[in-house]
């Protein structure tokens, strides 16, 4: 690919890619919840949340906290959660990450993973608690595998998002 955009169309395409790849990839992650797959045990982490979290940790500057609100609403509608669940949990995560970022001078990969682990635990336990409020009385030990899979899925998600980010910013 040429490093210099040859025409105004090409400029527009690159601009679009630059702006919307994070959003589209997160929406794709949310839509993965529609996979025709019937699970008996909660094992798969929330892929939309994982994509959102990875983008947020990699590129803190692209989204403000209110972005999580709209994407959370979309996730609630797509995956059949009670309305407001992802809106609340995702936005709370973003605000907490803003606080952490204002206190940390810098983050490296391992700290990103640690923060992501905390966010995944918060998100999964929050979803469990909301399910409990909705009358689904299950043991908290049931969601432990889901938390572990989520934490170990973060590096994979980080690789994928990093590849996307390189492609997004490529010249």
């Amino acid at each position: 690919m040429s490093r210099i955009a040859g025409s105004s169309t090409e400029v527009a395409i690159r601009d679009f890619r630059n702006r919307f790849v994070p959003l589209i990839s997160t929406i794709f992650g949310i839509a993965l919840g529609l996979l025709p797959f019937v699970a008996t045990i909660p094992l798969v982490p929330d892929l939309g949340f994982l994509a959102l979290l990875t983008w947020r940790l990699l590129r803190p500057e692209i989204w403000t906290a209110n972005m999580a609100l709209g994407l959370g609403l979309l996730n609630d509608l797509v995956s059949g959660n009670p309305l407001g669940q992802s809106m609340l949990l995702w936005t709370a995560t973003f605000l907490a990450l803003d606080l952490i970022d204002s206190r940390l001078g810098f983050r490296d990969y391992w700290m990103d993973w640690l923060i992501a682990a905390g966010a995944i635990i918060f998100h999964t336990v929050g979803a469990w608690y909301i399910a409990l409020l909705m009358g689904s009385d299950i043991l908290i030990s049931v969601i432990v595998p889901q938390i572990l899979v989520g934490i170990f899925a973060y590096p994979v998600a980080a690789r994928i998002i990093l590849t996307l980010d390189r492609w997004r910013l490529a010249r």
Binding site: A31, G33, L34, L35, P36, F37, V38, A39, T40, I41, P42, L43, V44, P45, D46, L47, G48, T64, A65, N66, A68, L69, G72, L77, V78, S79, G80, N81, P82, L83, G84, Q85, M87, L88, T91, A92, F94, L95, S102, R103, L104, G105, T124, A127, W128, I130, A131, L132, L133, M134, G135, S136, D137, I138, L139, V142, I143, Q146
Partner: protein, 353 residues
Amino acid sequence: MAPPKKRRPGYSRKAQYGLFLGYVVAVAGMVVAVLLLALSVIDPRGYQAVKGAALDVTAPVSEGGRSIVRFFTDIGDTVSDYFRAGSQNEQLRAELATAQQELVRAQAAEAENRRLLALLGLAREAQDEVTVARIVGSSFESPRRLATLSAGSSAGVALGQPVRAPEGLIGRVIETGRWASRVLLVTDGSSSVPVRLVRDGTPALAVGRGDGTIELRTLEVGQNPFRGGDVLVTSGIGGIFPPNIPVARVVRLEGDTAIARPIANPARADFAIVQRAWQPAANAALDAAQPQPIAPPVTGPPPPAAQGTTTPAQRQNDPRYQPALQSGNAAPPVATTPPQGQQPQGQQPGTPR
């Protein structure tokens, strides 16, 4: 590390206001989300229209992918069948021998059953199914156990209707869209199904545990009526679920309860049958009955019935019939409420309770 003194993103007023507005929107949105959640807890059917519409939009995506997933599953099955052909052949032959004996027994039982039903003048009730649909997806990312069904209110699916596979019960409908609906599986933590043990009819409650198993709770204390391998079917108590649908098979015992696995696996079931919510036959008779004329208010004891002219049945149909007053005049009327101002009954000496 302490937060920096200056949090402003540069000197642009626009950027500063934009950031501030972002936080305002985020916090306000969280408050709205909490309110939405609170409303969902109070009234789980509150957002029926919104969620149903979302379901209609998303279900076709799942439905399209379903055939792809099935294709790959089938390839896996075919390959493993090929490798297991020898041992499977032997095993199937043994199973066939047993099955043939069972078949003869079952045919005899069915013939007898038909004869008895004819004797009683009962016709076998037609299965009142609403529709047959595919299970196209599930909420595999959340702690809830919900499945998506490819039929909605346009096919007659309504809230609360039981859903079953040919093998056994799957769950019941909790959300409907126009062309898709969502099913609460029996393994979900908020699902409880009244069941009975096939072996001896012991009633129990099958409550989902969220991890693919079901907990069976009985009213009996001290002894566990279940054994490994026991099969439970719906009892029909409380309506909704028609009786005699297989629900679960006991896997192991835990104290007073038993852990069971559902017999129908929604991941494997090709089709799900949506049935009408079951009403006990008694209710139907009640609905069909003519409304009784309201009896005039009782002003005094009923006149003593003339002996020999009325049968007990006729007397019991009389709305003014009171057996306690009919049986002799020796017993004085019992004061049922203690006079005001007395001590509570439990402390009165010599009061039989």
